[in-house]
């Protein structure tokens, strides 16, 4: 297929006097991390396929400030957050979708106190809504039919924001065998990246947190791990690779699973 994938930018639309329905907040990982970029691309393709009226901020987007705030650096958080809110309010943004649970949480729960009020959805919720409203159909008999898939609840989508069902509903439609991990939903185990851990070495201990989670994943017998967070994907992929199971167990974002299932290329 030679579809031309479009990624409109807010500034261009504004110059043409247009306001898109929804802003796709890409996030630092989605923009720069080679692995997370693939998720960004997959989600962009779905947005295109479903004819969603969206745009990105592009160069005008900054880190939401989540890791700085959780590390304790409120100054850096406020600087980047207030800058973002200036930009978002300038474009009169009302609705935001993001594929990063940390961006999602900060935009949704922390920006209001700073003067940024938006309707924020995570891409798993957005995708589920596309399916519910018939805009997106998951093709039957896809590549995942009969495969054993497990789902890793990220802390900031799961326990922190209480989204457990939307991602699972999507997985059920992929015609696979969903196996739950021992620690799931409210009891889900962290991948080890949150709270700015991603950006520093571990404190002394006898194991890395991502290895603890990876062992549980390997025990489940699943060959595919569905995740919803770029940082979880990095941590779990590292764990799988360190266990030398990278040929047997694949770590994917839900958007990638849909793209692969539906053959959107």
């Amino acid at each position: 297929m030679s579809t031309e994938w479009k990624v409109p930018k807010m500034a261009d639309l504004a110059a043409a006097g247009k306001e898109p329905e929804i802003l796709f907040w890409v996030g630092c990982a989605g923009s720069f991390d080679a692995r997370a970029q693939k998720v960004t691309v997959a989600f962009t393709k779905i947005l295109n396929e479903c004819n969603i009226d969206f745009a990105i901020l592009g160069q005008e987007e900054s880190c939401t400030g989540d890791p700085a705030r959780r590390a304790g650096n409120e100054f850096v958080f406020q600087m980047t957050a207030l800058q973002n809110i200036e930009t978002l309010n300038m474009y009169k943004v009302k609705k935001i979708v993001t594929a990063c649970p940390h961006c999602f949480n900060t935009l949704k729960n922390e920006y209001p106190a700073l003067g940024g009020n938006y309707e924020v959805v995570h891409h798993t919720q957005f995708l589920q809504n596309l399916i519910d409203t018939g805009k997106l159909t998951i093709k039957g008999g896809g590549v995942f039919q009969g495969k054993k898939i497990t789902y890793h609840d990220s802390c900031y989508i799961g326990r922190v924001n209480g989204v457990y069902e939307a991602p699972r509903k999507i997985l059920e439609q992929l015609d696979n065998q969903l196996v739950e991990l021992k620690r799931c939903k409210t009891n889900g185990l962290c991948c080890g990246a949150g709270g700015a851990q991603m950006f520093k070495e571990d404190e002394p201990g006898d194991k890395r947190i991502n290895m603890e989670r990876t062992e549980e994943i390997l025990d489940s017998g699943a060959t595919i791990v569905a995740a919803n967070c770029p940082f979880c994907i990095t941590m779990l992929q590292d764990g799988v690779t360190a266990s030398e199971k990278q040929d047997d167990v694949m770590v994917y974002d839900l958007a990638e699973l849909i793209v692969n299932n539906n053959g959107i290329h």
């Binding site: 031309e4 994938w5 990624v7 890409v26 630092c28 990982a29 923009s31 720069f32 970029q37 960004t40 691309v41 962009t44 990105i56 592009g58 160069q59 987007e61 880190c63 400030g65 890791p67 700085a68 705030r69 959780r70 590390a71 304790g72 650096n73 409120e74 100054f75 406020q78 600087m79 980047t80 207030l82 800058q83 949480n105 729960n109 922390e110 106190a113 802390c155 922190v160 924001n161 409210t186 009891n187 185990l189 962290c190 080890g192 990246a193 949150g194 709270g195 700015a196 851990q197 950006f199 520093k200 571990d202 404190e203 002394p204 201990g205 006898d206 890395r208 947190i209 290895m211 603890e212």
Partner: protein, 457 residues
């Protein structure tokens, strides 16, 4: 009889007064924290109290300890009726005051108490076994050494004493109703002591039975009064604080860290946005304000109430990803440390020595207040930076706590102190901070943020 009445009144009033003072002291210690308004949305707060505190909803995530604990909890609630009767009997020198006033309800109530007490006894024995024989992992972490373990066992033995008291008191009473109906009126059938009383005490004569009855009665009320005075130095305080602690638990999203308006306004005026841009800059000679928390005075009162409510069950620590992978962080220890520090400060304030007043105001200060307190120590003497740095903010501890304690909040407040006031923190974080500040991204990369769009087609 009159002598007993006077003795009872003196002991009860004295021990209640003493307990009241100890509780007032804890209230004072809690209020050493910063003010925080947690009174919005009262209907939701009452709902939480009903479901989580009274209903024990969060306990039931672990079914075995939840059911066992529920027996003890239900017995505790039901026994309050019997306790009320004991107090009336004690003060007015009567015997089983309610017996001839509420008719058939009396044996129903007493039977309920007896059945629940029997279940509570089983639960207590199982708890002793879990703690001391099976050595359940979460009950044997490093912070549980010495006093916390003794404390836990003392509470369980105290519960056995309460139940023993009821068995003796009711069992002997049932026997006495047969041999001395003049003084021991028939009360109706008691579910357990009506058959267990004769079995245990049936061989005794009236005099002996009276001794056993009085022994049980005094053992029960004595243990209650002892508990009342013991609670303020024990993890068992949760039987009281669980209720207000649940009521005052934060209702906003777990994902929201408390905003710091002072920093927000400063950054706003720096960036020249909003009303803050017009506000005058603070005078330059003013002392740099401290941000975050290094001691109980800069935690909120709710953080300190959390610490006093903690019953050291360790559910938080057992689900903490850092702790289970061998890091030093234990959310339970954080709460125990805050409580211990509050106790230390409280004790120093009570002793009133001027060495605990800041040097610069020592000459003029009349007494120790939370504003002028200084003992040269802080929470950092209890909680190490290594512990603080290990937290992933995953909220598993917050989710796990059955009494709505939030161990994450003080951890993050102390991180703020370390970074903002001490300008310290893990050096690995510095590039992330500078990169966000200078490039608007967590990594310092040469590429444009939207470079991925170029490779899309």
């Amino acid at each position: 009889m009159l002598l007993q009445q006077i003795f009872f009144a003196l002991v009860t009033i004295y021990l209640s007064y003493r307990a009241f003072n100890l509780f007032s002291r804890i209230r004072r210690n809690i209020l050493l924290g910063e003010d925080e308004d947690l009174t919005d949305n009262a209907p939701q707060r009452w709902k939480n109290v009903f479901l989580i505190a009274f209903g024990q909803k969060k306990m039931f995530k672990r079914i075995v300890p939840a059911v066992l604990h529920f027996f003890i909890y239900a017995a505790f609630l039901a026994t309050q009726i019997e306790l009320l009767e004991i107090l009336i009997d004690g003060f007015f020198g009567v015997h089983r005051f309610f017996a001839d006033k509420i008719g058939f309800l009396y044996p129903v109530i007493i039977s309920t108490i007896e059945i629940l007490s029997f279940l509570a006894m089983i639960a207590t024995v199982v708890f002793l076994i879990r703690r001391n024989v099976l050595k359940i992992d979460r009950l044997h972490k490093p912070e549980m050494k010495n006093w916390p373990t003794i404390d836990a066992n003392l509470i369980l033995f105290g519960e056995l004493a309460l139940i023993t008291g009821i068995v003796c008191m009711n069992g002997a009473d049932v026997c006495l109703q047969e041999v001395d109906p003049q003084n021991y009126h028939h009360t109706g059938f008691f579910a357990i002591s009506s058959w267990m009383g004769p079995l245990l005490f049936g061989w005794m004569d009236a005099g002996f039975l009276q001794i056993v009855e009085r022994f049980g009665w005094w053992l029960h009320i004595g243990t209650v009064l002892a508990f009342l005075n013991y609670l303020p130095i024990s993890k068992h305080l949760h039987i009281m604080l669980a209720f207000p602690n649940t009521y005052y638990a934060k209702l906003n999203s777990r994902g929201e860290m408390t905003n710091m308006p002072s920093i927000m306004n400063e950054v706003k005026s720096m960036m020249g946005i909003g009303d803050a841009a017009d506000a005058e800059a603070p005078p330059a000679d003013e002392e740099l304000p401290a941000f975050g928390s290094n001691d109980i005075f800069t935690l909120s009162w709710k953080n300190i109430m959390d610490a006093y409510t903690c019953t050291e069950c360790g559910r938080c620590t057992s689900v903490c990803p850092a702790n289970m992978t061998g890091k030093k962080l234990s959310p339970r220890k954080i709460m125990m440390d805050i409580r211990d520090r509050a106790e230390e400060v409280g004790a120093n304030m009570d002793c009133g020595e001027s060495q605990y007043i800041k040097e610069e105001v020592r000459a003029t200060a009349k007494k120790i207040t939370k504003e002028n307190y200084d003992d040269g120590k802080s929470l950092f003497d209890y909680i190490s930076k290594e512990e603080l740095h290990a937290c992933t903010t995953c909220n598993a501890c917050v989710e796990a706590c059955p009494v709505m304690i939030n161990p994450l909040e003080p951890i993050l407040k102390m991180r703020r102190y370390e970074i903002l006031t001490d300008s310290a923190g893990p050096k690995d974080w510095v590039p992330m901070f500078t990169s966000i500040e200078n490039n608007g991204a967590v990594w310092q990369l040469p590429d444009a943020r939207d470079k991925w769009t170029e490779e899309l087609n």
